[in-house]
C-alpha cells in the first residue's frame, strides 16, 4: 500500500520568501507529525495533529512557522519569510493511533539561499 508522501522532495528558495511543504499521510492514520532534521542532527519535533483535537504546536521555533491539517488528512507546513537557518530536511510521519508506530515520509529538503 501507499506510504507517507511528501512534496516537493527538494525546495530551493531565496531568503525572505514563503514556502509550503505538503504531507499526505497513510489513509486512516489519525496522528500526523512534523519534524525537522538538520544535517547530521537528530529529529526536532515541530507540530503534532491528533484526530480532531487542537494541534500541539509547542515545537514550532517561531511564529513564521505554521501548519494545518485539512479534513483529517493532508497537512501543509508553511514557513514565512524564510531564513538561512531554516535550511533542513522536513520530515512528516503518521501513525494509526496516537503513540503507535510512526511511518515517515521521504522528507523535503529545504535550502534557503
Amino acid at each position: 500500500g501507499a506510504g507517507v508522501s511528501q512534496s516537493p522532495s527538494n525546495k530551493v528558495t531565496e531568503k525572505g520568501k514563503d514556502v509550503e511543504l505538503r504531507c499526505d499521510p497513510i489513509s486512516g492514520h489519525t496522528a500526523l507529525y512534523w519534524y525537522r532534521q538538520s544535517l547530521g542532527q537528530g529529529l526536532e519535533f515541530l507540530i503534532y495533529f491528533q484526530g480532531n483535537s487542537a494541534p500541539d504546536k509547542s515545537g514550532l521555533p517561531s511564529d513564521r512557522f505554521s501548519a494545518e491539517r485539512t479534513g483529517g488528512s493532508v497537512s501543509t507546513l508553511t514557513i514565512q519569510r524564510t531564513q538561512q537557518e531554516d535550511s533542513a530536511v522536513y520530515l512528516c510521519a503518521s501513525s494509526k493511533l496516537a503513540g503507535g508506530e510512526q511511518f515517515f515520509g521521504p522528507g523535503t529538503r529545504l535550502t534557503v539561499l
Binding site: A31, Y33, Y35, Q41, G42, L43, F45, Y48, Q50, D56, S58, L91, A93, S95, L97, A98, G99, G100, E101, Q102, F103, F104, G105, P106, G107
Partner: protein, 113 residues
Amino acid sequence: QQPVQSPQAVILREGEDAVINCSSSKALYSVHWYRQKHGEAPVFLMILLKGGEQKGHEKISASFNEKKQQSSLYLTASQLSYSGTYFCGTLGGTTDSWGKLQFGAGTQVVVTP
C-alpha cells in the same frame, strides 16, 4: 525532556555485538526505536510498552527497565545492514500531548567488514 542516548557513536566489525542505551528523567509509558540509514527516512524497529516483554527484530532486541526509565537496544552478531543512526523515542508524562514522542539525539552505528 529529550531522552539521553549513549554512546554517540560505535564502530563494529561484522559479527560483533553492541548495546545502545536510552535514559529518561521522567516516568515512561513506552519507548520506540527507529533506525535511519544515510539519506533515508527513519524506519520503525520496535515499541516497548510499560509492563511489556523484551522485543526483537531480526537479531536486534531491546529491553525496557521501567524503574530506571531506561531502554537498551542490543545489536547481536551485527551485519553490514545494521549500519545507520539509531534513535530512541520516549512517550510518557502528563505534561506532554499523548502520542508525542521525545527523540534522543541518536547513536551512529558503523559496521565494517
